[in-house]
């Protein structure tokens, strides 16, 4: 093929030309070969820096080469002790429990959802001392059926938390709720929850509000350890 390749289609009769069959191959250039330029010195320098960084990183962040040390903070792991030192602030603990268990219904702003989940901010159940025994029991066994909070009525299903949360955790979340969103009420102690559990006994059915209203105040409970002041 001595002529320059043409682009336009020509109206040639369809004949199979052996030369045509090889046209793409014929116009190919040589098979690829290697050149032998040396590796640039500056490139070697860059690589030395990268290798040095790699070595430094491996030496610093290897977590002792131990598989019990997960990426990130040293978290309590299999075989490691997790007990935090010192007393835990109930409000901090309560906020954690709240965000892990309550927020999806009662919301982060404590306002609940109209018609579905009652508010906790400014709620008479949370603030009024006569409802203290009631809210402890609601947390333990849950609540069903119609209830009126702040003038609006709700008819839902609050699940029980007696099995899932310990006394300390229930006390903490109640304490948190009672001082958040403008609420001001006294903290609840784990001992009070323990006493409420004992008083509830073997019952496992959720409450209805009429039954709860019949329950009077709990006997005061001796506190075993001083309750730390909730931080604002």
């Amino acid at each position: 093929m001595a002529d320059a390749p043409k682009i336009t289609n020509e109206d040639e009769p369809e004949k199979v030309d052996v030369a045509d069959l090889h046209a793409p191959v014929i116009r190919e250039k040589l098979e690829p070969k290697d050149g032998f330029e040396p590796v640039p010195l500056w490139l070697v320098g860059v690589f030395a820096v990268v290798v040095f960084w790699g070595g430094y990183y491996l030496a610093t962040y290897n977590g002792g080469w131990s598989s019990s040390f997960s990426d990130g903070d040293p978290a309590p792991l299999l075989g490691a002790s997790a007990a935090p030192a010192g007393p835990v602030d109930p409000v901090v603990l309560g906020k954690k429990i709240y965000s892990g268990n309550c927020v999806s219904c009662h919301q982060a702003d404590g306002l609940g959802q109209a018609g579905q989940y009652p508010p906790l901010a400014g709620s008479e159940f949370v603030l009024d001392p006569k409802h203290e025994p009631h809210i402890k029991r609601i947390l333990l066994l849950g609540l069903q059926g119609p209830v009126t909070v702040k003038g609006s009525s709700y008819n839902g299903n609050m699940p029980p938390f007696a099995a899932k949360l310990k006394d300390e955790q229930i006390a903490a979340v109640l304490t948190y709720v009672r001082q958040e969103w403008g609420n001001k009420a006294a903290p609840i102690t784990p001992e009070e929850i323990a006493a409420a559990r004992t008083s509830v006994g073997p019952r496992s059915d959720p409450w209805v509000i009429e039954e709860l209203m019949k329950i009077g105040p709990d006997a005061p409970v001796k506190v075993a350890a001083p309750v730390s002041q909730p931080a604002k």
């Binding site: 250039k29 050149g35 330029e37 490139l43 860059v46 790699g54 977590g63 019990s68 997960s70 965000s99």
Partner: protein
């Protein structure tokens, strides 16, 4: 990095075909090339045609998945079209259908050309292609039917993976046999990469199937195996095929040798050593040992070495001949792919560093990165390879320069829009996920695009207000929409390419004479292509020495 004294004294001999153990001159090679191409015809075309068919299927599945993310009611009534099934179906069809089939097709042709030996036992390879296709089809239908195990990249049930394995074994045996038959003493750099890919892939696939899918390993160790596989299927299966193709086609189209053999060696071994440690960067922050994550971060950052090396090698080879990009479809797609490889790898190294990873892990940013790699690098290289190889197998030139131009511009603008849109969306999503001083909340936020963008520009500073989760979802919708627009463009490009391939394979329409270029051949083209080759005289280099 340099050769021994003995090797150096023979260095220039390496440019002499005789020193390669080859007894032919170029005119004999010409005849052999035709024979090789003729022998490759059926197996390669079956791999290419079925691969392209999967590309079209995968593009349609991709469009469905993309639209569902900003319009969740789209086609939502049926279980087999739910997002959670369409998305893995898309992934598996493009990875095991499009990318693997065209990769194998290209590898077969490259192996034969580089070993200077015709393809033997073509029916074996056609059978392998058929089995692979049946396996992919069975697997895809299974995923849509709800049989997926939702382990990313490995969703196919055992009967489909078994078929893929058998098909691959046939190809691997053929490759070893062909390599043993090679007529060429010198093993060119592309062959190292292809050899590596053919060896690594079955080891990867077998290990993950046994340890994770068959459940020999329990617990979070599975995820280490999973992402070792997931990352290596990109780094040690697709990347070597892509790089091998670039190493062959750039010097081939422009007619110059590769810049530096030493850079080739450095690039290959550093890739082999570092890439396979990178997998656990998918698990940064996760419940896995810190040493594992640290090794992966180091492996990922060390990838700077092979990537820079390869980029320099390719760039210095091509840099005086870039005017050919105006004309050659092959070169344009290949160079686009090669540049994307450099960018995506540097991005990957950066993304492994904890300062980047902490905000952007779990976001759309990762998806943008994945597409930059598998599409802007690998798929564009495969397009370039097919534009070069198919006319040599069928004897027919591409029918329409207009369609090639449509293909190129649609997919290149499409993938650019895809990458930019989802990267920005992912960055905004990541920064917003990090602003979390109040808990999860279900109320739709009033955040909007402007506030999200403000957060982006304000960077890592602590913000007073937290961003509610639903607001984050809301803010990512415009970017998800841009992905659908980009995907539409890419799909149009794929349909254009599919049409071109169909016309070429069937021979419909008039036959063109001469190469199908982006623009009309003119004086600049001839200047760029250099002198006509006179094949009766052995070729010479600039000093007049025979090369």
């Amino acid at each position: 990095m340099s050769l021994t004294a003995e090797e150096t004294s023979h260095a220039h001999d390496r440019l002499d075909p005789k020193s390669f153990g080859e007894q032919h001159n170029e005119s004999e090679l010409l005849g052999m090339r035709s024979k090789i191409d003729e022998s490759c015809r059926w197996p390669c075309l079956v791999f290419f045609a079925t691969g392209t068919a999967w590309l079209v299927v995968g593009s349609l599945l991709a469009m469905m998945a993309s639209i569902k993310l900003h319009s969740p009611e789209f086609l939502a009534q049926h279980a087999w079209l739910t997002f959670g099934r369409v998305r893995p179906a898309h992934l598996d069809t493009v990875v095991f259908g499009w990318a693997s089939l065209t990769g194998i097709g290209t590898s077969l042709w490259l192996m034969c050309r580089l070993c200077r030996t015709p393809l033997r036992y073509p029916s074996m390879l056609v059978m392998a292609a058929v089995i692979w296709n049946i396996g992919t089809l069975a697997g895809t239908i299974a995923v849509l039917a709800g049989e997926s195990n939702s382990i990313e990249y490995l969703e196919f049930p055992y009967y489909a993976t078994f078929m893929l394995f058998i098909a691959f074994a046939i190809v691997a045996v053929w490759a070893i046999f062909t390599f043993g038959q090679r007529q060429e003493g010198h093993v060119y750099v592309s062959q190292w990469y292809l050899f590596g890919a053919l060896f690594w892939f079955p080891w990867l696939y077998a290990t993950v199937q046994l340890l994770e899918i068959a459940g020999l390993v329990k617990g979070v160790a599975q995820e280490s195996v999973h992402w070792w596989f997931g990352h290596n299927v990109l780094g040690l299966w697709f990347t070597p095929i892509g790089i091998a193709t670039i190493y062959y086609l750039i010097p081939k189209v422009i007619g110059r040798p590769i810049y530096s053999y030493y850079l080739s060696i450095l690039g290959f071994w550093s890739l082999a050593l570092f890439y396979n440690w990178a997998g656990a960067h998918h698990l940064i922050g996760g419940p896995v040992p810190q040493w594992l994550v640290t090794c992966s971060i180091v492996g990922s950052v060390m990838m700077i070495i092979p990537v820079t090396t390869t980029a320099i090698n390719h760039h210095m080879t091509a840099r005086k001949h870039l005017e050919l990009l105006r004309y050659s479809p092959t070169l344009r797609f290949i160079v686009f792919g090669a540049m994307s490889y450099t960018i995506v790898s540097f991005q990957g190294s950066a993304m492994s560093i904890k300062a980047f990873n902490e905000p952007f892990h779990f976001t759309h940013h990762t998806i943008a990165h994945a597409h930059l790699g598998l599409y802007a690098f690998y798929s564009m290289v495969m397009f370039g390879a097919m534009y070069y190889i198919v006319p040599r197998l069928t004897g027919r030139e591409w029918a329409s320069s207009k369609l090639i131009r449509l293909h190129f511009w649609m997919v290149s603008i499409g993938i650019t829009l895809y990458f930019v849109g989802l990267t920005l969306g992912g960055i905004i999503q990541g920064f917003e996920l990090n602003q979390a001083s109040v808990p999860y909340n279900e109320v739709v936020g009033q955040h909007g695009l402007w506030n999200g963008t403000k957060l982006f520009f304000e960077g890592f500073k602590e913000q007073n207000g937290a961003v509610k989760f639903m607001a984050i979802v809301h803010d990512s919708i415009p970017w998800l929409l841009s992905r659908s627009v980009a995907g539409t463009m890419m799909t149009i490009g794929h349909l254009a390419f599919g049409t071109l391939l169909l016309i070429n394979l069937t021979g419909w329409g008039r036959r063109r004479v001469g190469p199908t270029l982006f623009r009309a051949d003119d004086e600049r083209y001839h200047a760029a292509m250099g002198e006509e080759q006179d094949w009766t005289v052995p070729p010479q280099d600039e000093q007049g020495a025979h090369i």
